[in-house]
């Protein structure tokens, strides 16, 4: 089969289409297998790498040369896009002054398939500047691996490109491992109160989060508890006075039967128009989220984050209302916001 170019030159294809298709399929299969092989190699070292980056006070300095350098640039961009400050450092430029960008507390993420490139030359200096080193290499016996604090194994069994003209499966594996790091860090950066305590154990907030909620909850007359038969007009006055944005509905035994929030009020107005005379039990949220009094403030905070609520009723074993805890009681006003995006904002 032949065709001609615009200039009239005859273009012939020396291979059958099936051969070309098979070759392409083999390349894709080899690259896919290279990534699949990483799945079982992701273990404790990977977790430690994520912890190290997450806990660091500095930036992630990503470095590599050749094709690994290009992958390093991509990883730096991905980290930046996902909330982890990162910079690319060319190892040769580093030796000619660019090492000045490395500061105490940075993490050097060094990429090299062979582990025997110019990247190794900058590691002693980087260490001297107080940065820790994570190696991403396919050669666990290499100089790079030996110098690193942590080694992420991105070795592949086979390359898809002939003669070593260009790395293929190995750079695909590096890219995929970089993505795995970035995504794991996204999940770590979602607000997690346990982590907050871990990384700020000496702060007043960390201290407060380790308390049981009974020590910080609102109790007694300040708890806006009302019977289910109360008309909404009267209930709203109590709700406004309490300034918690919630009413806790109880039965004659004091058992919590529902809650009524600002959100419930908006929905009631839209549905019924005039709501003054409606009984609370018709418009309240039944089976609300609630916790026991020994629950830690950290766990309460996590539940609030998970369900995007700001108050939690506290009940005893029989379901009787003991008190209520508000987000501000846990954290203090103005010091906290949920990570979840506000749906009302564009």
């Amino acid at each position: 089969m032949s065709r001609r170019t615009k200039t009239g030159d005859k273009v012939t294809s020396p291979k059958k289409p099936q051969t070309t298709i098979r070759e392409a399929q083999e390349v894709l299969r080899i690259e896919a297998e290279g990534i699949l092989a990483l799945v079982d190699r992701v273990g404790q070292t990977f977790v430690e790498a994520v912890d190290l980056i997450y806990a660091s006070s500095g930036r992630v300095i990503v470095t590599g040369i050749g094709k690994s350098g290009l992958v390093a640039r991509k990883i730096a961009a991905t980290l930046n896009s996902t909330g982890t400050p990162a910079l690319f450092l060319h190892p040769v430029e580093a030796l000619h002054g660019d090492l000045g960008m490395v500061i105490y507390g940075d993490i050097l993420l060094a990429l090299s398939h062979s582990g025997e490139t110019e990247v190794n030359d900058i590691i002693p200096t980087v260490r001297g500047l107080g940065a820790q080193v994570i190696a991403m290499t396919g050669n666990l016996d290499s100089t790079l691996a030996r110098q690193a604090d942590l080694v992420l194994d991105v070795g592949v069994a086979r390359e898809a490109c002939p003669l070593g003209l260009a790395p293929t499966a190995s750079t695909t594996a590096q890219t995929a491992m970089g993505d795995a790091l970035a995504v794991a860090l996204i999940h770590r950066r979602q607000f997690n109160s346990d982590d907050f305590k871990r990384f700020h154990p000496g702060g007043s907030l960390g201290e407060r989060l380790s308390l049981a909620v009974r020590e910080v909850m609102t109790t007694g007359e300040r708890v806006p508890s009302v019977p289910g038969g109360m008309r909404l007009g009267e209930a709203l006055e109590i709700m406004s006075r309490s300034r918690l944005g919630v009413l806790l509905v109880v039965d004659e035994r004091g058992v919590l039967t529902g809650v009524f929030t600002d959100g419930d009020l908006r929905r009631s107005l839209m549905r019924h128009g005039d709501v003054q005379d409606l009984p609370l039990e018709e418009v309240m949220t039944r089976q609300p989220k609630k916790i026991g009094q020994e629950t830690t403030a950290a766990e309460a905070l996590e539940l609030m984050q998970q369900h995007e609520i700001t108050t939690l009723p506290i009940v005893d074993e029989a379901g009787r209302l003991l008190g209520v805890v508000h987000l501000h009681a846990l954290l203090g006003k103005g010091k906290f916001r949920f990570n979840a995006p506000d749906p009302k904002r564009p």
């Binding site: 040369i65 062979s114 069994a157 002939p162 190995s170």
Partner: protein, 316 residues
């Protein structure tokens, strides 16, 4: 702990013969001396180009002894101990162990086992465990379906089954595999051994390595003749470009060498031992092109074609 196997170029040595069809110790030494600076290891007495099955146990041991005596800087040796039967294999392994234990300190030695020549997949892990008890040296499996088909026509499965390989590799003493076969099987094997990052997958098929190189290296017979070209190609492939100095012309030089070895491969691939010995004899490296199986000897026409090719490639 089993020492790890080298990465890189392992030269699958031909066995030069005397007029009496015995291994030619002197020529074998010359051959190794010529290669040793460029090879990561040498494979001695292989069933393929080493014609191992044609030699007696003492002759095969003699080959091992010769390879080990190639000087203080002799490369590591992979010694094929496969026999026609289980008993022959055990006998050769025990003899080699006895020789190595009694002898002078030597370069590292591992054993190549192409067990499917005499043993089915059934109970193969147990058989290898038994062989492993005879030595502390690393074992390398040979998966060579064409060779198995040639030597042992009655064997049903010519390849090690993937599930069997997985069981075998649970033994850390089994440290590598010489692979011949298609890419699908290679992928399955690699997937099965994902928990063994130390395991070496050597390509035994040169054409395969040229297209999609294993990151452990190549067991090459063509390197008997064109060792520099193969070494450059293997090193280029294993460094995978990133660490290689991109000097001007490097790319075209690698392409030129790849074209050269492909050209040679097309000549010798049907009868590698015979063609390679003839080529080495024509270039003056070994004195005789004699093969262990007289039926393998080259015809006049084949010899003429080889000579033309060697001249075209400027070997002579």
């Amino acid at each position: 702990m089993t020492p790890s196997l080298p990465r890189g170029l392992v030269v699958n040595l031909v066995t030069p013969l005397t007029e009496a069809a015995r291994p030619d110790r002197q020529a074998f030494t010359t051959l190794i001396q010529r290669l040793k600076d460029r090879a990561s290891a040498v494979l001695v007495g292989s069933l393929s180009v080493g014609e191992g099955l044609h030699f007696s146990l003492p002759d095969r041991l003699e080959l091992l002894a010769t390879a080990l005596s190639a000087g203080r800087d002799a490369p590591p040796v992979l010694f094929e101990v496969t026999g026609r039967t289980e008993e022959e294999t055990v006998g050769l392994l025990e003899a080699a162990e006895g020789f190595l234990t009694a002898g002078e300190p030597s370069p590292p030695v591992g054993y190549l086992l192409t067990c499917l020549v005499y043993h089915s997949n059934r109970h193969l892990p147990r058989h290898l465990a038994e062989l492993g008890r005879l030595t502390a040296r690393p074992l390398v499996l040979g998966n060579h379906p064409d060779l198995v088909r040639h030597v042992s026509k009655a064997v049903k499965h010519k390849n090690i089954r993937t599930s069997v390989l997985k069981k075998i590799a649970a033994n850390p003493q089994v440290a590598g595999l010489e692979f011949h076969g298609d890419i699908s099987r290679a992928v399955h094997y690699q997937r099965a051994l994902v928990g063994r990052p130390d395991f070496r997958f050597y390509d035994g098929d040169e054409a395969h390595f040229l297209d999609q190189p294993s990151s452990s290296g190549l067991i090459s017979c063509g390197a008997n003749l064109a060792v520099q070209a193969w070494m450059d190609i293997v090193h280029s492939s294993l460094d995978i470009a990133e660490g290689v100095q991109m000097v001007p012309g490097r790319l075209s030089e690698i392409w030129r060498k790849a074209r050269l070895v492909r050209q040679l491969l097309s000549i010798y691939q049907d009868k590698p031992a015979a063609f390679l010995k003839a080529a080495l004899a024509m270039t003056g490296v070994i004195p005789s092109a004699r093969t262990a199986d007289p039926g393998e000897a080259l015809s006049e026409e084949e010899t003429g074609a080889l000579e033309m090719e060697l001249r075209a490639c400027q070997f002579i």
